[in-house]
């Protein structure tokens, strides 16, 4: 399709060269699925849930993330990479050699699919940080990996990290999700947790790196909506070393969760309240101790609040969390059937995979739906639902241990 790119002189075609800069209005579709027993499901289930929501997207972005998919490399950081060209690949690989032991490097297994064109070079790497470099850097392995991801995304022209976690991976690109899933041969993977997305780009370009999920370490985010606070979120995250380089608003949500859950060790319930803050009027009606915590939270994490409509699913090793904006401006339905928890933009997506769930409900705005895989380490500090005194205890860090707060150090 010929574009008159000169009309879009502010659009950086160097970075986003695969797709059109045109603004198209619409919605998105998403799904999340977690088997709390740890049993594995084929990626084909995730594809089916997205295929039913085909009309929620327009073919300009589809993607998935699966957890537990690389049991043969449980302790390696699995990097899924996208390269515009061989030069970008060589530059990124030189960086990998500098930071990591590369135990396996191979092209992503794909197959030709009608409708999927202009794929970048797709490679995956199983990496371990050099011990001596880690010691020199005085960083945790996770912070070390974050540094490399940010360096590649912001500084290596034409190279982008699709995912960088352990025993997980993101599979995304320009196309409908069922086409992207087939392209990446997802039926050959099995995971305890899957998230999926169907994109209908609105304010930002549809290109391979801009498809959902957005990831960092184990975290993956799929999102339906618009993050109107992207600018202030971006500036806030820059202070902590995150660099938003992918041109899609959702990127900030992945980094905000990494900041709040991994680095600041906020309990999940508080992180969700920071992103989808209760309205001031609602806070005024809360019991005083809870209201005090919420006022502090809004003061401290004000620049991290996600303003605008959203339904998001956060996937990670250990489970998933689904969350709506505080006045539910985007659809989200949840279901439970046995050990399986599933969420989607439409109930039909759930029923395509699980025809008769035991329980189907519409989650309340701003209140997370949580699935937790049994016997897996829970990477999030604090209990699922804390009362105000427990929250105060966790935040103020009193000497006495907090009864309801578990800390997985």
């Amino acid at each position: 399709m010929p574009y008159d790119l000169e009309r879009y002189d502010t659009f950086d075609v160097r970075r986003y060269r695969e797709e059109s800069p045109f603004k198209i209005h619409g919605g998105c579709g998403l799904m999340g699925m977690c088997d709390e027993s740890g049993a594995l499901r084929s990626g084909e289930d995730a594809i089916l849930a997205m295929a039913v929501q085909h009309d929620r997207g327009n073919g300009l972005g589809g993607g998935f993330a699966g957890y537990g998919i690389y049991p043969e490399f449980p302790d390696h950081f699995a990097f899924h990479m996208m390269y515009h060209d061989v030069a970008a690949k060589e530059e990124a690989e030189a960086l990998f050699d500098q930071y990591f032991t590369v135990d396996l490097a191979e092209p992503m297994p794909t197959r030709p699919v009608k409708g999927i064109t202009d794929a970048p070079l797709l490679w995956r790497y199983f990496l371990k940080p050099y011990e001596n470099k880690l010691e020199q850097a005085e960083l945790s392995a996770e912070d070390y990996v974050v540094h490399v991801v940010m360096t590649i995304n912001s500084s290596v022209d034409g190279a982008f990290v699709a995912s960088s976690g352990k025993n997980m991976g993101a599979f995304k690109g320009v196309g409908y999700p069922e086409e992207i899933g087939h392209f990446f041969r997802l039926e050959e993977y099995a995971g305890h947790t899957w998230v999926g997305h169907n994109r209908f780009p609105t304010n930002t370009p549809g290109w391979w790196g801009g498809a959902h999920p957005f990831t960092l370490l184990d975290w993956s985010i799929v999102h339906n909506g618009e993050i109107s606070s992207y600018g202030i979120n971006n500036r806030y995250l820059e202070q902590f070393g995150y660099k938003c380089a992918l041109g899609t608003d959702t990127e900030v949500a992945a980094y905000l969760f990494d900041l709040m859950l991994r680095r600041h060790k906020l309990p999940l319930s508080l992180a969700c309240k920071a992103l989808a803050s209760p309205l001031w009027d609602d806070i005024d009606r809360m019991p005083e101790d809870e209201a005090a915590v919420m006022r502090s939270l809004r003061a401290v994490y004000g620049p991290g609040m996600l303003n605008g409509p959203f339904a998001i699913v956060l996937g990670f090793n250990g489970g998933m969390v689904a969350l709506n904006d505080r006045i539910k401006l985007r659809p989200l339905v949840a279901a439970r059937s046995g050990d399986t928890v599933m969420v989607a933009s439409e109930e039909s997506a759930i029923r395509a995979v699980i025809p008769e769930p035991e329980h189907v409900w519409a989650p309340k705005a701003g209140e997370p739906v949580i699935a937790r895989v049994k016997d897996m380490e829970w990477p999030i500090h604090g209990d699922l639902h804390l009362d105000a005194s427990a929250i105060s205890c966790a935040v103020t860090g009193t000497d006495q241990s907090c009864d309801t707060v578990e800390v997985n150090a």
Binding site: E44, A51, E179, P331, A352, V360, A362
Partner: protein, 273 residues
């Protein structure tokens, strides 16, 4: 349920005509895996050919069922999960859903009746202009926003469960009823915040009570009078019959009435006197 077509991409729905069987003036359509466009074409063809009952089986999320259909004396049965925007602009038919309904049901509906024997999603009955919508269970956010009425076109919606924020927001006419009876959210309030916010016409009846903070500042909260109950009871009786519920049980709790203080709350906003 997995459907594949060459060259192996999983398809949510196939763009093929559904299987249709006829028995007198009743038509049965198997919607299993059929794309909404082909499904709705089959529904319209059946109605055009004089079907009195169109029974659609294995529905799972297909959009626009009954949308824009103008006909009288036609009954559509939906077995499964009704997709978005069912009965949008509908003018006359009756749709009965044996399952849940997704978002946007009854959008700008003109006439007819929708009965959902399950829950319904967000923006139910948006801008509804006439006819009735009955839901057995819980409903979502923004239900009945901007319902309107004109002369004998008066939309009526009765929801048997609980509702979330913005119930009856900007309501300009018609009647919106919430019972709080068939709910899976026993611990939660009958209705969310911003109820009737910006409301300037019509009436909302709630079975039970509501706190002033839950309501928009444009509405007054009243106990339903005998006159109000005389208006409401025949509607509840019709609802109870459609749902197989006991009218006495519905009437066993007192009702609260929400009505706007003004029919022109913003009349002086842009043209101050």
């Amino acid at each position: 349920m997995t459907r594949t077509m060459a060259p192996g991409v999983v398809e949510g729905y196939l763009k093929v005509a559904p299987t249709v069987t006829r028995d007198g003036d009743a038509v049965t359509i198997d919607a299993n895996g059929v794309y909404y466009k082909q499904l709705n074409e089959a529904v319209r063809q059946a109605i055009d050919a004089g079907a009195a009952t169109v029974r659609i089986e294995n529905v799972n999320g297909q959009r626009y069922i009954g949308t824009g259909v103008k006909a009288s004396g036609v009954r559509i049965e939906v077995h499964g999960t009704a997709g978005n925007d069912m009965a949008m602009f509908m003018d006359g038919p009756e749709i009965e859903v044996f399952g849940n309904a997704q978002d946007g049901v009854g959008n700008t509906m003109n006439a007819g009746r929708v009965v959902v024997h399950g829950d319904a999603g967000d923006v139910l009955g948006y801008g509804m202009r006439g006819g009735r919508v009955y839901v057995k269970g819980d409903v979502g956010y923004r239900v009945g926003i901007h319902m309107k009425a004109y002369e004998n076109l008066v939309p009526i919606m009765v929801c048997g469960g609980k509702a979330r924020d913005f119930f009856g927001e900007y309501m300009a006419g018609g009647m919106l009823v919430l019972l709080g009876m068939n709910t899976q959210f026993a611990e939660q309030p009958l209705v969310g915040g911003f109820t009737g916010a910006g409301m300037h016409g019509g009436v909302i009846y709630l079975r039970g009570s509501v706190e002033p903070w839950q309501c928009g500042k444009e509405v007054g909260i009243f106990q339903a009078t005998e006159e109000d109950m005389a208006e409401l009871t025949p509607i509840l009786a019709d609802y109870a019959e459609a749902m197989g519920m006991d009218i006495e049980q519905i009437l066993a709790e007192p009702f609260t009435k929400l009505a706007p203080f003004s029919h022109r709350p913003y009349g002086k906003l842009y043209a101050p006197m």
